[in-house]
């Protein structure tokens, strides 16, 4: 039973998070920052593109070093 639960969890982790957890962590953080900034007078639309511009090269760099 525990093995099945573990396999179920592993399937969803792989389905949602994938190979690099940092990508999911940066996206979640960027969404939270966008939400917070959108409540101020500062435009918030640029935060997600900026996060992508940082996390994709970072993730690629990590993958290349392995």
């Amino acid at each position: 039973m525990i093995d099945r639960l573990r396999a179920f969890g592993a399937f969803w982790y792989d389905f949602v998070i994938g190979d690099d957890w940092r990508v999911a962590a940066v996206v979640a953080t960027a969404l939270a920052v966008t939400f917070a900034v959108s409540k101020t007078s500062i435009p918030a639309w640029w935060i997600l593109p900026a996060a992508v511009a940082v996390v994709l090269p970072w993730s690629l760099w990590q993958a290349r070093r392995r």
Binding site: D19, D20, V27, A32, V37, S38, W45, P49, V52, L60
Partner: protein, 261 residues
């Protein structure tokens, strides 16, 4: 059809076509090496499970407020898109082997030929049945997720469902007509394009769900997608400079179009 509707159709069609190619490869291996009837039963059972998931998930998604839906779905699409794009950039820069449907078919075929035949319930070959079932459900879940979430977010589930249906029917028809893995489909290029589109839509919907407002509203999407593509191509060019020597990984691939004719 507006520009964003066309982008929705193309994104769902391509994403679903890629998943369908993978599912068809698995079913073809199960049918060719084992038993077509059992493989067919696996496909049928898998489609019933998928229909149940879509029937449960579809109405539930439409009940969620659009802002929350866009936040969650945008975030998930962005994570999926970046994972696809990461792999695609690694493949085209020579740091990872290209996805080879022919090699995958041969591997599945070899594994299927060595497994023991076992009759269970009304299924003659349980191995062929479960192999097909898993292939259809696992790849189909992604098709269903993409079609439902894209459709819900753009208020056009019928268009997304049409795109998904066209892609799956086309790939399945071609696959079973030739009875061979669809190695001539430029799957690596498709994966690159789908990664770009998922990332683009994810950025757009994620930011909107988090209450940000795009300059130009929906038209911003038509700028985001090409910019993501240019950025990814720039990374490919940059990483290619440090690619491992020829022979290891796929360092000999000089351009996006050269994988299969």
């Amino acid at each position: 059809m507006t520009g964003t509707s066309a982008a929705l159709f193309v994104a769902v069609f391509l994403a679903c076509a890629v998943e369908a190619v993978e599912a068809v490869t698995i079913v073809l291996a199960a049918g060719t090496a084992r038993d077509w009837r059992s493989a067919g039963l696996g496909v049928g059972s898998g489609l019933v499970v998928l229909a149940a998931v879509v029937a449960a998930l579809g109405p539930a998604l439409t009940a969620i407020p659009l802002g929350a839906l866009r936040l969650v779905v945008g975030g998930l699409l962005l994570v999926f898109g970046l994972q696809w794009l990461r792999k695609a950039v690694l493949r085209y820069s020579g740091h990872k082997d290209l996805h080879d449907e022919d090699a995958i078919f041969q591997r599945e075929l070899a594994a299927a030929r060595t497994a023991h035949a076992e009759r269970r319930f009304a299924v003659d070959d349980w191995y062929a049945y479960t192999l097909s079932f898993k292939g259809v459900v696992l790849e189909g879940l992604e098709v269903a997720f993409i079609a439902i979430t894209f459709g819900s977010n753009q208020h056009d589930v019928p268009l997304a469902a049409l795109a998904a249906g066209c892609a799956v029917l086309l790939v399945a028809a071609v696959g079973f007509a030739v009875r061979a893995p669809l190695a001539r489909v430029p799957e690596n290029t498709l994966k690159f394009v789908v990664g770009v589109m998922l990332t683009g839509f994810g950025i757009f919907w994620g930011a909107e769900g988090a209450d940000a407002h795009w300059p130009g509203d929906d038209a911003a999407l038509l700028a985001i997608v090409p910019l993501v593509a240019l950025f990814a191509l720039g990374l490919v060019a940059l990483l290619r400079r440090t690619a491992p020597p020829r022979g290891s990984a796929a360092a000999s691939v000089p351009a996006l179009q050269l994988e299969q004719p």
